[in-house]
């Protein structure tokens, strides 16, 4: 069992709930986890890619270590009609999920830290916006 993997799986589940029927602006088609940003490819869109970045150990006591795990949530949308408005609304949906997400007992905090530039990719024909979050969690020293 992995504390970190459980938290990422919980985040994926929370993001999959982005549906118009749930009060959001978008019907999400897919969410996937990636270890490298260069690997991000999604067949079904609108989608969110959860991309891991290097985590830091920030505090320690006799039994636990606290980590901050930065994550890039890449919002991907391919609808050419009204794309700019739609991806802005999609990004807001993701921010709303992030601010309310409960990611399990070991997750202390999830903090929205910023958004990157919107990028249009001619090869994929989609627009992408990276949303940066810090996930603060702890794990027992006895096992990760």
């Amino acid at each position: 069992m992995s504390t970190k993997k459980t938290i990422l799986d919980n985040l994926e589940t929370a993001l999959r709930a982005i549906k118009k029927s749930g009060g959001y602006n978008t019907d999400i088609a897919d969410v996937k986890q990636f270890g490298l940003a260069m690997d991000v490819q999604m067949e079904n869109k609108p989608a969110v890619a959860i991309v891991e970045m290097p985590e830091r150990a920030v505090a320690e006591d006799d039994t636990n270590i606290q980590f901050v795990m930065p994550i890039s949530l890449v919002a991907i949308m391919t609808d050419r009609s009204g794309l700019r408005d739609k991806i802005t609304l999609f990004v807001d949906d993701i921010k709303k999920v992030v601010c309310a997400a409960s990611l399990g007992d070991n997750c202390l905090d999830i903090n929205l830290t910023g958004l990157g530039d919107m990028a249009y990719t001619s090869t994929e024909g989609d627009a992408r916006v990276p949303i940066m979050v810090d996930i603060r969690y702890y794990a027992a020293k006895a096992g990760f």
Binding site: A59, D61, T63, N64, Q66, R136
Partner: protein, 156 residues
């Protein structure tokens, strides 16, 4: 297992005295908003849940109270303890009003529960707002109390 050499563990016991009061406060203020939901026995904590209070030892001083000292000295111990209230994690909203309210609750409770057994709260130091706590990666406020105890050391 003994944790110190000798008869008295006065420094740590003074901390336990305050930790006990903080746990009593946690129960007493359960209907208050904001409230302290967790009490920790040290500032260094990698798994701190909020809102929390933590207690730790800062310093100890002692004075000689015995009239025939130093042959049979009766010593007064003054242990300075730090009480922190934690309202959010590092990088998040450092709510000064919430912190001030929690400090106010702590002050009200301690001021009406000054003594337990041989320990008593002798003095209150400054309370400070808008603090950043590296040991737990949190933000909040801190206040200081001085706990007093008299010990008559049996001479070897």
């Amino acid at each position: 297992m003994a944790y110190v050499h000798g008869t008295y563990q006065v420094i740590e016991d003074a901390k336990d005295f305050i930790v006990g009061l903080m746990n009593d406060l946690k129960t007493a203020m359960s209907a208050v908003t904001p409230k302290i939901s967790y009490v920790y026995t040290g500032h260094n904590n990698a798994a701190m849940e909020l809102n929390a209070a933590s207690v730790d030892i800062i310093s100890v001083s002692k004075t000689d109270e015995g009239s025939d000292a130093p042959i049979a000295p009766v010593m007064s111990y003054y242990i300075t303890l730090s009480i922190r209230v934690h309202v959010n994690y590092l990088g998040r909203y450092n709510d000064g009003i919430e912190t001030a309210r929690l400090i106010n609750s702590v002050d009200n409770y301690l001021s009406t529960h000054l003594k337990s057994g041989q320990y008593r709260i002798y003095n209150f130091g400054d309370a400070v707002n808008f603090q950043t706590f590296e040991e737990s990666q949190t933000v909040g406020g801190e206040l200081f109390v001085v706990v007093h105890r008299v010990i008559d050391h049996t001479q070897a």
